[in-house]
Symmetry: D2
Subunit: 359 residues, 4 copies
């Protein structure tokens, strides 16, 4: 594959269109200046940017917990890009490379960073989380060490999906799943589906899912799951206990963010099993019955972003062990981004993940 | 120490007094037949039997969750005894030995037993939990392998305390505490105090406790804690964050069983820390804020009884690394057992643990 | 699939042929009495029995370490069978079922058994290890709880391979491999190949193998490996460091039992990685350089048989996640067993695993 | 305690005496320039510097493995100091503070640093390891974040001992020791003694040690051990198996660096136990019997320096949970450093750890 010729800095435009969220359900395309990289940074020409559920939270509610949209903000943090310009001192990358980008810029000096848990860094700067701008635009600056070159055969769209895939890998890491064990995933949105895909790659022997949307149930069955249950018409705990001959699954992954799914996950997991909570509920109170989880002696793991997963994510996609492409149901242009948000927010039939293509 | 002469079976009385719980706050002493051991079992002459908080739950409420007092039942499951008679085939014990007794009789054949988690055995028979009789009486039969001979220098009263000490050891095991780490224990009842004592023996560098009863706060300070806070007059989270210079403790142990203590434990633990839930709340809904525990990336461990801890419990007491004696605040005779229950149920000043002495 | 009619005990023959190892390279077929099951046991009609490397060790050397062939002994411990007769009290199985059989009979009462490590039971009785007879014959008696019914679609030959597959699963369990990590397997005999297959099912992103026999290298490439190196003509450490861009693999599995392979495994694993030693060297001295493994801060895990793996092994084969059939290169009749041993002992071209079919 | 007045940089001397190792058993005191701190660094006025076994290795052999003394070098890496001058941008420290200093300067950017294992950083710069100078002198420059202020009540001598104590803490961390378990420590030199002290603080119920020097055996008994055995006159494996009633210890710590101690550690550890190798043998070949460690299913952990332990080390000393002072047997002046090395190299009676006091 011929490497594209490097963009000379003097060929860069002075301004670029960006999708600014002004408030609830109000995105406007405006022109803003193209930034320039400082030392240790690179200028990225955006390729593909996924529309994440958290982006849609801000679009619909104007906030996630304490993070509130006040000034207009550019969202977008699942992305691939090509290197457009190298800041001073950057030697590990080359102009023209296609890269996937870790969107969290951690401080590198706190106890969590030093002990290997950058995902828990309290000083993190996170692309597209108020008040930090994200990348629904044409160019952006990031630290060079957040950029992971993609090998031949991994596309820009797949590159954009490495961010949610990374969260899924971290989620499965936390579960200590063993090859041949059985799991349940509650919720067949993009994260639930990718958790199931990672768990399958990690050797899950049986994968049971629950999902209220019919089109997502069908997608989950076609994509990855052994059985999928509808929590609106079925008692999903009864179904999964039956499917496991009364034993329950080794690990439950909660990825629905509903009020009832943590307790369901606890009920369908086996004695001594693990419940991994990944979903973000709109109501903040976690609902669990103390006596049930105590009697079972459960371990509960909370998922916060991801750590150290990009090289593994790239390898899993490159080798075909995980196919993220089916999860991308819609490709849209930047001009159509508000339509894309409406489509995702409306849980329209057939929508799994929308990705904005910048070229 | 001279071994007491073995009780010849024909010297055994035919009947014995037992404390039967007939209903809420209604304990009656009645005479019942002395049992005889079957193959693999031993007859125990009870020495000391602790009055556990769960016994008091049954006394006050007539139930714990689904376990309901229906027929009159003998409570009591924290105990030491001397071997009075050996059932057929028992060779590992001798008549006259003083033993501590693990009160849970697990099935030995289920997945949990085979994989080393007898505390999660769904077929467990547990002394003093309805409808199984416990040991507030003079003689009882148990499997030989539930009996652990006590070395010289460990008394019958200490032997009775090995059961709650064992729960505390299992609790600390689950936390993966490292030497020199800091902890919080919420609740300074007998279990909270013993968790603190085990954590101290395991190298906890600082121990912060919370407790609403003034006499227990003082006891905790004298016995084991570095600082103790009063949740009724102090903001315990603020105090412990201050004491840890804003970092929080490495591990929080919830041993109060109150509605607000799990969330307090989550708030005072550091990023990436561990919250161990040991208390049994009267209301079954667990109160935790999802966003807090997710942002911190917490691990939550649920404590269910104990496993494989008696040899270590005995060694810790024998060597003096843990002193359980101060936790025993009152010794009572079997005839006075209802007074003892009232005293414990009333949280009277100076009451930590009452132990019934059978001789 | 129609269930075969149960063998009525009075239809059982009185005697049966068995392959007795009299000494080095001396196997004789003789008639011996058919055994009968005691309480809790079943009589098995053997279906398929694999010829394991350890069987061949006894055949060629007359011993493995302290286990010495003295009286004539029947070898064979990798096997499937149909239930021919139930001993008293057996209710979990039915006559006619096809089962895979765990060959180790552990005591159930020692510290290792009670804590969930039956593979370390010092009182274990192991089929086909002197002086305990194995199953190169027509009938054998085993405890009912050692027998795992095979689901439809899993054949008797696959059932016999669950024993070495189980060892491979336990080996991968010990490594704590994460999805997307890279591994090396030293040795492409049946165990090395199955370790690679399990690691692949567990998400190994790249699998490098080393093997001196050309036909096994080719088989490994076709079956499972990304690259296979020849230790006789290549510097395998150099090759694998090159393949991993100088980083080394996350986990090295030593399954060759050669003198130089542990050290090679240590050299090709990354800083902070894990070296799992599964092979049984003929010389007992383990060769490792202290400075290398210390500088790397390695964890070394020793593999002893397996624990609790049959349900997972069955599921992995049933779902097609692991295909054990290609590893079975030769099927032989009991009459030809000495030829089969000679073929395996001679490392003949094309020989991976020979299985004796009893019907 | 009044803070000493800050040393004004223009009060600093221009040169200072330093102990240069010219070759085997050849240390010369020479004057060298006083260094100045760069950005992010501090100038330290040395207080106490321990004479480590590795220093003595260089003194006696001129090398440790590949690290060879070529040009004259200043050794010394166990040290406390007061802050004499702050480099640009240093705000976390103040002139006049007494600090303990982590001697390893890791790169902060490699995979090992980012994943929380700075002790395995391949780019580490380590004080006093050829060709990097150490601190047997009056002033030295270190990064500010390597300096840990000592609380009141922790002395400069104790501060110097935090480095070997930190290695001991990391060693015990690697063992996953549980409260009430039993251990063996092979070797009662300073590291062995501190491992035993940390293990005691971490709840080791029984501590058995082995040591050929009579004065160290006595010291170990007085300081920390339950029983100490002499490998020259006793079969230490037999003794420890007897002391543990045939079971063996839960964890063996090898801290002798002898040829036979790893195998002894493996023989005295229980089934399924852990062997931690901390000693540095002069001959690089590690001696272990493959069949023994396989049959036991051991985990072997290799100790490489330490990570993230200073805050815990300080707390353990500050609270008195570990008393490092008795391990310091000799205090010497810088002028007498060669005598101190000879004394340590000669294993003279009564010598445990010598510390050079710079004031």
């Amino acid at each position: 594959m011929p490497t594209p010729p490097p963009t000379s800095p003097d060929q860069l435009p002075e301004s670029m269109p960006a999708a600014l969220l002004y408030g609830i359900r109000d995105i406007r395309l405006e022109n803003i200046p193209v930034p320039r990289p400082g030392p240790g940074e690179v200028l990225l020409k955006l390729a593909s940017v996924g529309v994440c559920g958290s982006d849609v939270h801000y679009y619909v509610d104007g906030r996630i917990g304490d993070a509130i949209v006040e000034a207009p903000i550019i969202m977008g943090h699942e992305f691939s890009a090509t290197i457009a310009e190298l800041g001073a001192g950057v030697e590990s990358l080359a102009v023209g490379q296609l890269v996937a980008v870790e969107p969290a810029i951690n401080c590198g000096h706190c106890e969590m960073c030093l002990t290997g848990h950058p995902n828990l860094c309290p000083n993190v700067i996170f692309c597209g989380t108020p008040p930090v701008n994200g990348v629904f635009t044409h160019y952006a600056v990031m630290p060079a060490h957040n950029c992971f070159p993609l090998p031949q055969g991994v596309s820009a769209i797949e590159g954009a999906m490495l961010e949610p895939l990374g969260v899924a890998i971290h989620t499965v890491d936390l579960s200590h799943l063993k090859v041949g064990q059985t799991i349940a995933v509650l919720g067949a949105g993009p994260i639930g589906l990718l958790i199931a895909a990672v768990a399958k790659a990690a050797g899950a022997g049986k994968i049971y899912m629950t999902e209220p949307l019919a089109h997502r149930r069908q997608f989950a069955l076609d994509y990855i799951a052994d059985e999928v249950f509808d929590p609106e018409t079925q008692d999903v705990v009864v179904e999964i206990m039956r499917a496991t001959a009364g034993r329950g699954v080794d690990v439950s992954f909660e990825a629905a963010g509903a009020q009832e799914t943590p307790e369901q996950g606890a009920e369908m997991v086996r004695l001594g099993g693990t419940l991994v909570l990944c979903g973000i509920p709109s109501e903040d109170e976690l609902h669990l019955k103390a006596s049930l989880i105590r009697r079972k002696g459960l371990t509960i793991k909370m998922v916060r972003r991801m750590k150290h997963v990009y090289p593994r994510a790239i390898l899993l996609v490159e080798t075909g062990m995980i196919d993220v492409k089916p999860v991308v149901s819609h490709l849209v242009a930047l001009e159509d981004i508000q339509d894309a948000f409406e489509m995702v927010a409306g849980y329209e039939d057939g929508v799994i993940r929308a990705v904005v293509e910048m070229d």
